[in-house]
């Protein structure tokens, strides 16, 4: 398939269908409406099911049912809607049901606004709902990655029997860029002997998250935690540009990383040794990779569209080895490369914050 100009949300939806997504359940909310719109148009014609649910809560529970029945399934929403889904996400994580959940973040808190934000980082990477669990969280930085990471998300979901979240934002969802879909290759259907498909010639399968015997539930907790540790070892993804000689490394994901990249390129043209580190997997967080870059004579500047969320994980990774600075915009405002560059210059000139 040739390169084509697509909106981020639509590229993501197309990629899901190509990845073998057989069911989509969702509820309308801006700025992700192009995803259900695309799914409603295309999925039923390509062998899948689209259903607009009566609520975000119902949508995520439909995902639970369909994932438990063995189907590749997806839902998408935006920040307030993702909050509503948290109960279901906790159950899905506990039931170890593979599925893909897309959050095209908008600004908050509360109803907030419909403009882009990265205010749901904590919710996405620290659990979000009740109990001890983790999602695999992938953060695309372009329309191409909206497609590529969505395809990867279905693979990882099945591989780990874990919900995978695509953490995008309103800018990435709405912007148009050229995108290319790698051949028509669809991943092979994965055997799911645990799925509830009817107990033919076997004992019944049960999808359950209840375990009222503490000794038994503790074993489940440890098993899940061990899985998350293996995910931390195997699934870290990141991009590092110009970090080797850098005096200052910009750290950002998604839209913030695009802005940081522009600021970095201008800084390099200006003769400043600035690099960019872009986490692509937010859980697992590229902690080791950032730690290896941290040293006394180097500084970090984290760029976010939040009040300061990922910066906490960067500080944990750096662990005091380098100064970590922070710059941000909020409320649906996107930082400009000029603002970031000005901050870079002030840090490097020793003017600090």
């Amino acid at each position: 398939m040739a390169r084509m100009l697509m909106r981020g949300n639509e590229a993501l939806a197309e990629a899901a269908i190509r990845a073998g997504c057989k069911a989509f359940f969702g509820y309308p909310i801006t700025p992700q409406n192009e995803i259900p719109g695309y799914m409603a148009e295309h999925l039923p014609l390509r062998g899948g099911v689209f259903l607009q649910a009566e609520s975000e809560v119902a949508a995520i529970n439909m995902v639970y049912g369909a994932a438990g029945a063995g189907a590749r399934v997806m839902t998408s929403s935006s920040s307030p809607g993702i909050s509503l889904k948290q109960e279901g996400i906790s159950y899905i994580a506990a039931g170890e049901l593979p599925c893909v959940i897309v959050n095209v973040m908008r600004c908050g808190p509360g109803l907030g606004g419909i403009h882009p934000s990265q205010g749901d980082y904590f919710q996405a990477v620290k659990g979000g709902g009740h109990g001890d669990y983790r999602l695999i969280v992938l953060a695309p930085g372009s329309v191409q990655e909206m497609a590529d990471l969505t395809m990867l998300a279905f693979e990882l979901a099945d591989k780990w029997r874990n919900p995978v979240m695509i953490l995008a934002d309103g800018t990435l969802g709405q912007m148009m860029e050229p995108v290319e879909f790698s051949a028509e290759t669809k991943s092979e259907p994965v055997e799911k002997p645990w799925a509830t498909t009817g107990a033919v010639n076997r004992k019944p399968n049960v999808i359950n998250t209840l375990d009222i015997v503490p000794e038994s539930l503790e074993r489940v907790n440890h098993r899940l935690l061990a899985k998350y540790e293996r995910i931390k070892e195997e699934e870290v993804r990141w991009q590092a540009v110009g970090v080797k000689d850098a005096d200052l490394i910009l750290v950002g994901y998604g839209t913030s990383a695009r802005v940081a990249r522009s600021a970095m390129e201008q800084a390099r043209r200006d003769g400043l040794k600035v690099g960019l580190f872009r986490p692509i997997s937010l859980f697992p967080f590229p902690e080791k990779q950032i730690r290896e870059l941290a040293k006394a004579e180097r500084q970090f500047l984290v760029v976010e569209m939040s009040g300061g969320q990922m910066v906490e994980d960067v500080r944990l990774a750096v662990d005091g080895r380098s100064p970590v600075h922070f710059t941000n915009r909020l409320g649906g405002m996107v930082p400009t490369p000029e603002e970031v560059l000005e901050k870079v210059e002030s840090i490097l000139e020793g003017r600090g914050n």
Binding site: K22, N61, M62, Y64, T196, P204, N208
Partner: protein, 250 residues
């Protein structure tokens, strides 16, 4: 030797946790008998809800999913939409279905979702130790209506069959009771019919089964059967509220 009575194949050997005088066990058996008689055990996926029947996945010898509180119809929708040839049922209590899960049940019914719903109405939250339910009768004492349910403060109990009968989606809605043998036999027929509707792709079918909670009602098992008949049936009249096959036959 001729077998005159045996456990349905669709039930497991697990001992049930239900209290003396509770009719969940009877209703489980009716569901299992319906599954056996239609020969659909290997095609059936059940959805357990939250409440006393939360462990239903231990008792039914079919594939089961356990749903979050009130969400069983949404979970069942997810299963049925990706496995349309399988038989999918939910088993829900009154708090689950008529309170926290009101949205899910109404919309599953409105969509005519081709599932079977077994709704067990005992007018109280049993699992959480006897709080007021959406179906608690006016005047009925519960842990959270200790002076009896006051209509002025908490309104009136909800009649689900009548409410859902206003929708075009359902194919079959019936209310039955589990307080004596005659009614249990009638309940069994209604439950089987609700599965047949799904088998024939007629769409959403629900059987509301009036049930008891002798422990939380504070009565002996025998007394609770009488209380059901004397108090619940007058407010929740038994009968068929919708049957599109009967209408088709007219």
């Amino acid at each position: 030797m001729r077998v005159v009575f045996e456990k349905p194949e669709a039930m497991t050997d697990s001992p049930m946790h239900y209290c003396p005088g509770c009719t969940h066990g009877v209703i489980h058996r009716l569901v299992a008998e319906a599954i056996d008689s239609l020969g659909i055990r290997e095609q059936t996926i059940g959805v357990a809800s939250v409440g006393c029947s939360v462990f239903a996945y231990d008792y039914f010898n079919v594939d089961m999913q356990q749903a979050a509180h009130g969400r069983a119809p949404a979970v069942a929708t997810g299963i049925k939409r990706v496995l349309p040839d399988k038989m999918v049922f939910t088993y829900q209590g009154d708090g689950d279905l008529a309170s926290i899960g009101m949205g899910e049940i109404v919309h599953a019914a409105a969509r005519g979702e081709n599932i079977t719903v077994i709704f067990v109405n005992n007018a109280i939250y049993g699992m959480t130790s006897g709080q007021m339910a959406p179906t608690t009768l006016v005047g009925q004492k519960t842990a959270t209506s200790p002076r009896g349910r006051s209509a002025a403060e908490t309104g009136y109990p909800i009649r689900m069959c009548e409410l859902l009968a206003t929708l075009d989606g359902p194919s079959y809605l019936a209310r039955v009771s589990s307080h004596d043998t005659k009614h249990i036999i009638q309940a069994g027929r209604a439950i089987k019919k609700a599965f047949e509707m799904q088998q024939q792709n007629k769409g959403f079918a629900m059987v509301e089964v009036l049930s008891t909670c002798s422990v939380n009602w504070g009565m002996t098992p025998a007394k609770s059967m009488e209380w059901l008949a004397e108090n619940m049936i007058p407010y929740y009249p038994l009968g068929v509220y919708k049957d599109i096959t009967a209408e088709e036959g007219k």
